[in-house]
Symmetry: C2
Subunit: 355 residues, 2 copies
Amino acid sequence: MPQNKQILLDSRPQGEASASNFKLVVAETPPLQEGQVLVRHHYLSLDPYMRGRMNEAKSYAAPQPLGQVMQGATVGEVMESRSPMFQVGDQVVGMGGWQQYSVVDAEPAERFRLDVAEFGRGGAVPGALRKVDTTNVPLSHYLGAVGMPGVTAWYGLVKIIEPKAGETMVVSAATGAVGSAFGALSKARGCRTVGIAGGAEKCKYAVTELGFDACIDYKEHKDAASLSKALKEACPQGINGYFENVGGMVMDAVMLRMNAFGRIALCGMIAGYDGKPVPMSYPQLLLTSRIKLQGFIVSEHMDVWPQALQELSTLVATGKLRPRESVAQGLESAPEAFLGLLKGRNFGKQLVKLI
Amino acid sequence: MPQNKQILLDSRPQGEASASNFKLVVAETPPLQEGQVLVRHHYLSLDPYMRGRMNEAKSYAAPQPLGQVMQGATVGEVMESRSPMFQVGDQVVGMGGWQQYSVVDAEPAERFRLDVAEFGRGGAVPGALRKVDTTNVPLSHYLGAVGMPGVTAWYGLVKIIEPKAGETMVVSAATGAVGSAFGALSKARGCRTVGIAGGAEKCKYAVTELGFDACIDYKEHKDAASLSKALKEACPQGINGYFENVGGMVMDAVMLRMNAFGRIALCGMIAGYDGKPVPMSYPQLLLTSRIKLQGFIVSEHMDVWPQALQELSTLVATGKLRPRESVAQGLESAPEAFLGLLKGRNFGKQLVKLI
């Protein structure tokens, strides 16, 4: 069996996460038991939710255990199989973690859904493995646009915001894995779609490549009032739906422009992940504008995944969603790439290439 | 025609409202035109929403115009009628304003509903007048438990919170007109029902007279952490639904105890009515607890009024809802009674008796 580099959570962050919280080790992969498969990971997904799990405090997910392999989604190839459900050469998506290889209990497809739901509530999901078709969709996209981030965008837009054609939709972190999928899904529904992102390059990309009608660089604005003014120009009819990934000043600015009966899908508040309090400055706007705001975790809504993945894979296959990827090379680069993601240094879906 | 004392909005508040913002005048009531009725007001309703309308800034309702009679709901008796729709002696509820008499264009009942909806969006509603039956419900209750405040509680509970039997519901300003109706409606649905109010006397009344399972005196708690601890004891299963009337520290404390998939009906944020910013301290809880929060204005949901009023009048007629009233005597007392209401000095529905 091959040697297996792994990254463990070595300590919990005090405030900002740092490289010292992680530890690289090398382990042997154990021999396969009956019903198990050996997967070689091609790509590891890095996602903002992982930061929350590094804390001790109970969030919606249980903490990542100390001294164990960092959990995370992976795509890869079956190298060896003692299960009738998988053949050598199958391409698979799973929760392989921050390591080069994983040994997985193969289980029926229905079990995968249970596992992922369990994962959302904090359970470990060693058995989650699903075959994917890479004819029209590159393997790595199953970690992004045609994976959990894409379904996240779909759920917030379709099930919480419920957009009507002609309405105006706004998404923060617009060029990220979730934001770029949100843009394509929103445009497909006939909505004016405005992004918020950090930096001129990202904003240009959002408009020219991702099809956003406009994109605002929040880094050009020192406070919510200034950003809100820019939003007024980009959203002359006001904002009907908002997909929130960041919180803080950006959220305050958008709320100042929400129309009556606006809807906010609350997916992430990356601004507060280091433990600093990030208050909402104008909660009275939720009342005066009669806003519906809903927090959600996509893994608790497994029933929508098949429908969402179908639409997302079609958008990718037809070129209507061309997600960008930031690819770090080698498992050793995962901690720095992850810390960069938390600072918005990534450009599109952040991956680590392991082969 | 009788002389008519009126209270006008004389100036807009800078910060806190004060008695000097109001002005008492005496006017003649004009002679009736064809289709009009003269109403003598028995009671004037004082409601927190009026404070918002005293500001210049556009809120969900248009500002109260300067130099004009303060708008507000009234109950009274028809003294003279030139409309076939009303007889002398009819008891009526309407938007008569802060004055002793009003001359009203009688209009069909359907028009009333439009008018009230229009009022919610800021229009004036001179024509809103509706006959009421005082056989089993005292006239004044049509301004409280069997009026706008009662329907407000009903809408938030039934349409936004959607309680299930056995769940735990919390309401702030629990002994007020809205809160006391909420308590009875929540108990009728088999929920553990916990109030938050200001002062030991109010809390005792909430439990002994209004049927709350527990009531917490927020004045005994200096911060959200302390109040939250008291809520933990009163709500051992956590909180599933919250009806918000006040905002600020009380809201922060409740949010710290909300269960996953909790629902918050946002009705009022009296803590912020003087223009001081009242941030929400822990918006990340909306995400981690997957909370649905929705702001609403009851006058925009006129379709539920008949159903809600029917349940509320039955609760009152059968003694299951025994709303308490604070009654100020004479139109001249309205400004001070209103300022007291904003400080929580009222105990139950605040009325002004005009006869």
